[in-house]
């Protein structure tokens, strides 16, 4: 009976949409009620992190989903390096994945371009308390087009042994942080490879966090136009603050990004770095065989010598991922059901165990209590920021605008002001392009 009503409602919505002559307003996909998926296979695209860190959560959710609907699940894991190119090519066709994970800063572009179907937030657990930084990427013209999945906040990861030698405790203020860097750097002066802080030059999530710390911003919406804010005084101040720190205390390659930082930090030539909570583990232990998830872990030079703390006075970028139902999917309701299972409290508990932050503010404290290693990250997530929610923001990231600016400033090719001005021009041109 219930199902009949749902069908009728969906039909009515379709008719209504047709009557209004709008093709943009596709009906909202419901995840409530029962769907019979017997004989069907749901295609799910997740990013590789799920495979390496919480595959059991995926399998468990799929199992529960199959029990409830009878449909099978086929999960494909994607690499971050080229997944958007592949997604574009695939979405252009007809045989598309039903559920797609994207980084939260990548979502707006696809939502604005009609790639995802609208969903009904009320169908999902904890939707009232979804993290704003994740949910923001899903909102478009009053509707919601994706479901927050997990988040990560960035922290200070430091060497307890070196801090102890220097008689230091975890920094409580930014000045403490600088003082600690200074003291350790001085103590290690004889080692030319040693830099107190490992901060690769193209780590723009970090640089922009410093910009936020002085009240600066990347871009702001002014009417229907976006305006780059990096050359505003507050942003320049933050940028300068970051540049001064990096130039003084980091020996990292100004043309590298943060992807390899844990492995490089594990060499022991640095006392602090800024990363996700799980990167502490990556720095302390490496899999003997990186292609085998069951491979034994091998300790590195810094094993047992690391601890995390919130980076004082620096708001964290809230990274993370969302899940959406492809607009072209033939199994939208099934897809929504799978997402529902994968983002419910049971799955979130699994993520917390795997050192990922859950998708809801209500669960943050629970996460901190259940997994002490996650506590600083949960704390950092409360004071976090997110990239501009502009349709073309992903193009700014893909165009390596901020990365190029940072490298140019650090290598002295441009002054902070010139670099910021250049980046603003690029950002304005990209975000406002018709």
């Amino acid at each position: 009976m219930k199902r009949k009503i749902a069908v009728a409602a969906a039909l009515a919505a379709t008719l209504l949409a047709a009557a209004c002559g709008s093709n943009e307003d596709s009906p909202t996909t419901s995840a409530s009620g029962k769907v019979d998926g017997a004989g069907k296979t749901l295609k799910v695209w997740l990013m590789v992190d799920a495979q390496t860190a919480w595959k059991d959560v995926v399998d468990n959710a799929s199992k529960r989903f199959t029990e409830a609907t009878g449909a099978q699940v086929n999960v494909e894991y994607q690499q971050w390096a080229n997944h958007l190119t592949k997604l574009d090519a695939t979405l252009a066709g007809t045989d598309v994945p039903d559920v797609i994970e994207l980084g939260n800063s990548e979502f707006p572009k696809y939502v604005f371009s009609g790639g995802f179907a609208a969903i009904n937030p009320a169908d999902y657990e904890n939707s009232g308390t979804w993290l704003a930084g994740l949910k923001g990427a899903c909102d478009f013209e009053g509707k919601t087009y994706c479901v927050p999945y997990y988040a990560g906040a960035r922290l200070l990861i430091y060497r307890t042994d070196l801090f102890k030698e220097a008689g230091l405790a975890a920094p409580k203020t930014y000045d403490d942080f600088l003082a600690a860097a200074e003291k350790i750097q001085t103590a290690k002066k004889s080692d030319p490879k040693f830099g107190a802080v490992y901060m690769p030059g193209q780590y723009w999530y970090a640089a922009m966090s410093w910009v936020k710390s002085t009240g600066g911003d990347i871009a702001k919406q002014d009417g229907d136009k976006w305006v780059g804010q990096l050359s505003q005084p507050a942003s320049i101040e933050g940028l300068q603050r970051w540049v001064d720190m990096v130039k003084k205390y980091s020996k990292a390659d100004p043309t590298k990004n943060e992807n390899e930082q844990a492995g490089i930090f594990a060499q022991g030539t640095s006392a602090m770095f800024y990363g996700n909570a799980w990167e502490q583990g990556s720095a302390e232990e490496v899999k003997k065989d990186p292609n085998d998830e069951n491979s034994p872990l091998v300790p590195t030079k810094v094993k047992g010598k690391l601890a995390t703390a919130a980076m004082p006075e620096i708001p964290s970028f809230l990274g993370g991922s969302n899940l959406g139902v492809a607009e072209k999917s033939q199994n939208k309701e099934l897809a929504a059901q799978w997402i529902k299972a994968f983002t419910d409290s049971q799955s979130m508990d699994g993520l917390i165990k795997a050192n990922a932050l859950p998708n809801s503010t209500a669960l943050l404290d629970k996460a901190a209590a259940a997994n002490p290693a996650l506590a600083p990250a949960a704390q950092a997530a409360k004071d976090s920021w997110f990239t501009p929610n502009a349709e073309k923001w992903a193009d700014v990231e893909k165009g390596a605008v901020l990365q190029t600016m940072l490298t140019d400033i650090l290598t002295g090719k441009k002054s902070v002001a010139d670099g910021a001005k250049w980046a603003d021009d690029q950002i304005n041109a990209t975000l406002n392009e018709s």
Binding site: T85, A92, K251, D253
Partner: protein, 320 residues
């Protein structure tokens, strides 16, 4: 008949005898039937996409149109004016041209020197050289690029480690891609290193065709090695050199993989070439039409070199 034969030394070919049998073929459909499968495949998988690419360059296709399948709006020459008035595009073009000239010059001169060297060394050494070059030649482009990325890594790369060993030089953590000149010399080294085997082995094959008697006679007459090279060897090799040079120009002008891999899939503006620029515009920024316009312009820019190559090849194909 020799492997490498220059038109200059070729004896005037006798006019082909055309017996009755071959005359009958004239109105025959056989040649077309034979060529048709190839032509259909080329038309379908190269010709048609090529036409679509040109069409696309007069439209404005973005992600929305790609996803919905709707016909993108027509914009006339907008993409072309946008590209041609963009100083970034001209910077990329200038860089690509400069890289092509420098890398081809180095490759061909080095390739020829190695080929000459191969004629001068003893047999065992020559074999060693050939084997070394075969290994390099056989390495897939992607693999070669990844090896160079690994060797020039600022933290774990062997190049920094070895240079740092030189007393008084501090190359620890040296980043090769801060300074575009250094970065481009890494890319050029990679391209030249990977290109030399083809050039040296081909030119060496050409050198084997230089009549020994001619060189002996020249030496007898008191010609210096340099004179022999200029007056005997180079003229004979000229057609071969022309062809390998034009091929190198075409390959290096389209540089993609090396810059892409060495910059980890996101080349900074100073490491963009026309190929990576077009690709990033189309696939990175979803400006498919703009990317197509850049590709069309690239093909037009290459036409000059291509005409040269095609004329040379056409002469050869014409003869029979």
């Amino acid at each position: 008949m020799s492997v490498v034969e220059s038109p200059a030394t070729r004896p005037a070919a006798p006019a082909p005898i055309r017996p009755a049998a071959s005359k009958k073929r004239k109105s025959d459909k056989t040649p077309w039937l034979l060529a048709i499968p190839a032509l259909v495949l080329l038309a379908g998988l190269l010709g048609y996409p090529l036409v679509r690419m040109v069409v696309l360059s007069f439209q404005n296709m973005r992600l929305r149109e790609l996803l919905s399948g709707a016909t993108p709006p027509w914009v006339g020459f907008d993409n072309y004016t946008k590209v041609l008035t963009d100083s970034v595009f001209w910077g990329v073009t200038g860089r690509t041209v400069a890289f092509t000239i420098v890398s081809v010059l180095i490759s061909v001169v080095l390739g020829l020197s190695i080929a000459l060297l191969m004629r001068r060394v003893t047999r065992g050494v020559r074999l060693f050289m050939v084997v070394a070059m075969m290994f390099v030649w056989a390495l897939p482009q992607l693999v070669a690029a990844q090896i160079f990325r690994w060797m020039t890594d600022s933290d774990f790369g062997v190049v920094n480690y070895l240079i740092d060993k030189i007393p008084g030089v501090d190359y620890a953590n040296h980043s090769w891609f801060v300074n575009p000149w250094q970065g481009w010399s890494v890319i050029t080294t990679l391209v030249v290193w990977a290109g030399i085997p083809f050039l040296a082995i081909t030119l060496n094959a050409g050198l084997t065709q230089v009549p020994k008697e001619l060189l002996e006679a020249a030496t007898m007459d008191g010609a210096t090695p340099w004179q022999s090279l200029r007056n005997i060897i180079l003229p004979i090799l000229k057609p071969l050199i022309t062809i390998v040079t034009t091929l190198s120009v075409i390959w290096n002008f389209g540089l993609f993989t090396q810059a892409w891999v060495l910059r980890d899939g996101h080349p900074e503006p100073s490491f963009q070439t026309l190929a990576t620029y077009s690709y990033t515009q189309a696939f990175g920024q979803s400006r498919y039409s703009l990317g197509s316009a850049i590709a069309v312009i690239t093909v037009i820019l290459m036409l000059g070199v291509m005409v040269f190559y095609i004329r040379q090849m056409f002469k050869i194909g014409e003869v029979e």
